[in-house]
Point group: C2
Chain length 328, copies 2
């Protein structure tokens, strides 16, 4: 029998889950829950109901894993502990500083209900966390480097949009090639914020706004831009929508470590992602962890987990024998 | 109390384990076992005994994990099942085709004894296997690529040394840069053996040997060289020992996958290693899995495992709380 997946929320992530479940021979989508009027939500899969979130309790025995697609600021801190009382759940909670608190809340709910909850899935946190933990365990004497991009930072784009006179904006975070090369050399450089990433902004002005003033305000904005080399381009709204609508992203995780009696040997572990669609890659990760969550729960496990707690083989629909014969 | 580690065999790998255990604050080396005369084996750590392998049964309650450093051809198929009856064990068995058989033998021994055995640790199999399994689970529609090098292939170096007139030789396997770039482009190229790697040979001739004949024999050797673009350099033994004594290695694992309603989005996952010392990196992996093996056994688990079965957090000496707060 297929693993029965449901989705909470139908935005970019919800759609990504729908696409990823279609690719999985061992899974089927059984419901999409929404806070909106279900009649207004059109999904791609035929014969799958869109259900008002208030009816979710009626689905307790009809869903194996609920994938919660909400924002980390306000949605997930409330939703994940709530739904972990009814279902095995997966989320993509990505506010690093608040993970311990979120973990504790979700763990209490999931343990009480005998369910598995995997939080903070995706690529950072998620695949990048795995790269960091594996490489730190293997090379205890070393230095970590994480670079992001090239990709759009939603937070930085929003910050520009809040400036008076700005109609619309997109901000790209770009890793500095010479910094990547310095890390790859094994020299374990100490890199400042400015040396690691540059920021490139595409800005649409309101009619009559002062471009020079807007550019100055962007470049001097503390935390967001003042510590970076920032480039500002003023473009038309049409150009923004045509050329900057993409959701590509990616990044690099390095561990540069030393071994040897006299630490004479350098080792570089590099993990990188180049993603055309940030939400579709993220949801591909969520769906793989949904498979793992259901397996762990069938084995009798419960409580909150992260990617660090899940044996890799549980993510695959291949058996242990098949994995050992073909991918080990 | 520290985890008590013992090593079976004291060559490059055994020495690497000794160095890696020194770096681990939660481990101590308690014994080195050897088939040689113990008096002839000088190790680096003070106050650790070198013990004749025939005495190993007396150490049953004094060792938490035995790391078996032997060859995959004949040592490990015999040693790992044998010692899994007495200890939690780790090996680096790397004959991919024979892993299922080795797994079955070791599993029977370890289950009978209530011990954990982690086989095929290292980087390929090992870290590269993890990269393949994670990325296949996340991107089910895609293509895998593995490249090795630049590094010395022991098997190819040995094959050259067997040619009449050759005194000594080293062979480097080198990934082709344009093939790496083609994979990184997301075009999912079909690459022939010749397009993926080149082979570079440094050969010392016996006095009076015919260089042209040796070069021809190398380049036309089936399986080993005939499918590759091979370069042969004749050098002095002194130059070989001075410039080609290193044990650097590495490689690249890629998954190039597609997502989207119409498969319109490409994603590239790249994992790469650049290692100054192949044996020291390999043993750093073995020691991290020794930590995991002991934990799993303390929890009551037994049987044969591979890197695919071990939750990543078990490799680290940090607690779950610390990992979630700092590395997730």
């Amino acid at each position: 029998m297929s693993t029965r997946i449901a989705v909470m929320g139908y935005g970019n992530l919800g759609r990504g889950v729908e696409i990823a479940v279609k690719e999985a021979p061992d899974m089927e989508l059984v419901a999409v829950f929404t806070r909106r009027d279900p009649a207004s939500v059109k999904i791609m899969t035929e014969n799958v109901p869109v259900v008002k979130v208030t009816e979710i309790e009626n689905w307790k025995d009809k869903i194996d894993v609920l994938i919660i697609c909400g924002g980390s600021a306000t949605d997930l801190p409330e939703m994940t502990p709530k739904y972990a009382k009814m279902f095995n759940v997966i989320d993509s909670f990505d506010t690093h500083a608040r993970i311990p608190e979120h973990f504790a809340n979700v763990d209490a709910s999931a343990k009480e209900a005998g369910k598995i909850a995997v939080i903070s899935c995706g690529w950072d946190p998620g695949m990048f966390s795995l790269a960091r933990v594996y490489s730190n365990a293997i090379l205890p004497d070393g230095k970590d480097y994480t670079f992001w991009g090239k990709g759009v930072s939603q937070g930085h784009s929003d910050a520009i949009r809040r400036i008076d006179g700005v109609k619309n904006a997109k901000q790209y975070t770009i890793p500095v090639e010479s910094a990547l090369e310095a890390v790859r050399s094994g020299s374990q450089p100490t890199l400042t914020t400015r040396q690691k990433h540059t920021r490139e902004c595409f800005v649409v002005l309101e009619e009559g706004a002062d471009a020079a003033r807007v550019e100055k305000e962007i470049k001097e904005m503390p935390n967001y831009f003042s510590d970076y080399d920032t480039t500002v381009h003023f473009i038309s709204e049409e150009e923004l929508l045509t050329n900057h609508a993409g959701m590509a992203h990616g990044g690099f995780v390095f561990r540069s470590g030393k071994t040897g009696v006299n630490k004479e040997n350098s080792h570089i572990i590099e993990y990188s992602l180049k993603l055309d669609s940030n939400p579709e890659f993220t949801t591909s990760v969520l769906v793989a962890y949904a498979r793992a969550a259901f397996r762990m729960n069938k084995e009798g496990q419960s409580g909150c987990k992260t990617v660090l707690d899940v044996p890799p083989a549980y993510l695959s629909n291949l058996s242990g024998e098949e994995l050992r014969a073909h991918l080990l």
